[in-house]
Symmetry: C2
Subunit: 340 residues, 2 copies
């Protein structure tokens, strides 16, 4: 081949321009199809770009243009199907709306330093917006940037001004499940949940469960434990042996752990004890007959992206009042909880 061959990723727009016999300015315009240029010129430029294997250097382009076309997504560890699905739906929705997403993740068990690091990586790219789908980052850490770049929290509630949300209405979830259990006639119930600083969602659910149950006249044993699904399972079993007829878990993972323990202990579900969970997105949950609550992942994802797009296109960002959008899931009756 001719001597104008360069390794694909080192072809610059100057190379393309030169090969097409035009200036860089013209090449830029033709390549993005904006501004004025002769159709035949564009054709030639496009052909040369193709031939040379030109890939625009995004960093240079966005630096020069002074703006970014991508939205940053901070995601919690995706090994949890609830986050995996949220991730997937956010991605789909962003794609549908023509937004480019670039994602960084932080392990679920990371310390604050990692979270901040990830945040800075995204901000360093000067993303046009930020979708935060991890509880690990605090409002205080986000706040300084809220007036620079639109920030939408997806999944978790947020009270800080200027940070928008599309979130699960976890108190309602807890209430719905508790009402169901009450309606089945249970009056001695164990509530198993992660502590507030371990999982805000679980905490909110569990608190609502407890309140609803007590309001319904039931006696409640609240177990507020660590992050591991097996934490507190033994205590829950003890409570069952002591007469509790239902175990309400603040997440499906805990529910599975409880059911394993129950099976190993020779207790039957729902014969000896009813068990409920929350999340409802495990594939195969139906085969297990899990009584749970399906969280509205799709609605949250759609609202988060839609909000982001609106903020992005809004001429005056500060003119928009902080958006708060709670979504309620649907109860999945299942067969692991039955009437007394």
């Amino acid at each position: 081949m001719s001597s104008d061959e360069r390794p694909a990723l080192r072809v610059t727009i100057s190379d393309v321009a030169a090969a097409a016999g035009v200036s860089r300015a013209t090449a830029t315009r033709a390549l993005k199809g904006e501004g004025r240029f002769a159709p035949e010129t564009q054709e030639r430029i496009l052909a040369e770009a193709e031939r040379l294997g030109y890939v625009r250097n995004t960093m240079a382009a966005e630096l020069a243009a002074g703006r970014t076309g991508t939205v940053g997504l901070m995601l919690r560890d995706a090994s949890n199907p609830a986050y995996g699905l949220l991730f997937s739906r956010l991605q789909d929705e962003a794609h549908r709306r023509g937004l480019d997403l670039v994602t960084v993740t932080i392990g679920a068990d990371e310390q604050g330093a990692e979270q901040v690091n990830a945040l800075h990586r995204l901000l360093g790219m000067r993303v046009a917006g930020l979708i935060v789908a991890t509880g690990g980052i605090t409002a205080a850490q986000l706040a300084p940037f809220a007036d620079q770049v639109p920030i939408v929290r997806a999944g978790r509630v947020e009270t800080a001004e200027g940070i928008h949300t599309a979130h699960y209405d976890d108190p309602s979830h807890g209430e719905l499940l508790a009402s169901h259990v009450l309606s089945l006639g249970h009056s001695r119930v164990v509530v198993l949940s992660g502590a507030e600083d371990v999982s805000l969602a679980e905490h909110l659910r569990a608190t609502a469960m407890e309140q609803t149950l007590r309001a319904g006249g039931a006696s409640v044993t609240l177990l507020s434990v660590g992050a591991a699904p097996t934490d507190g399972v033994d205590e829950a079993l003890d409570a069952v042996r002591a007469g509790a007829t239902a175990v309400m878990c603040a997440s499906d993972y805990r529910q599975l752990a409880v059911m394993r323990a129950l099976r190993d202990a020779g207790l039957s579900v729902p014969g000896d004890v009813s068990v409920t969970g929350c999340d409802g997105i495990l594939p195969g949950a139906d085969l297990l007959g899990l009584t749970t609550l399906r969280i509205p992942v799709e609605a949250v994802a759609a609202a988060a992206v839609e909000t982001m797009q609106r903020l992005l296109s809004g001429s005056d960002a500060d003119a928009v009042p902080t958006v708060r959008q709670p979504f309620v899931g649907t109860l999945v009756p299942g067969t692991t909880a039955a009437a007394l």
Copy 2:
């Protein structure tokens, strides 16, 4: 406050340098802690950066430096737990090794155009390396860049020269499962799989199953169907009614679909028919007693990242022969497949 206040993300290194009374070059060095500078000078610069809320513009930095510190990850839709877990493990491993990952995803059902678009977005960022965890992108599309940037495929096998892999040994997986089924005494078996162009992994597994079964003297009905888990389920049931005693599914999703259909048809598992799957990463699979094969996600992720790091640090990239690393999972006997 003083008049040197600018919105956080608009503070440049010049602002920091000016505030600290030094040149930009000194600020650069002090900020990254490389090169020579007086400790006290650095202290001052760091303090000013902190005070002004300076966040380095990564695009500008990497453009100027001529290199990137991040590795791009192309991921398939994470709503499938197998990909979600792979994603999570790749991320963990990268973090452990000090590599920064930036991810773009493509829906599982996307056309080629989207995949190429995603690839270009990553290449446009001039990532230092590329980890590809989606089957949707072909070797031909990757090849032009393989000598520019190290490329490692994670999960799926690859034959193209210059593209490294850490992949599941799916033929072995099929063989292991089929041997298990044979050892249980089954001789009339249905194999349910996605077609080759739908899922290479499923195809490889199914092909191996078929061969192993036939070699073992069994008669095989191979159903090569579409991507939807319910595809081919009816036909599989027909085959069961016609005398087949085992249904081998090329993925857990199909296995679940088959079990639902069997349940609805009033057939018992494994009483009337044995069922096997493949993947083994569904939470709760143990409670269902699924007979399946756990794919070695962790090993693949670790090997992929380790290979990437090696390629990145290797002075002479082309000196490294193409790396191929197949990993075999472990059989999970379960209770959905039993002896005849």
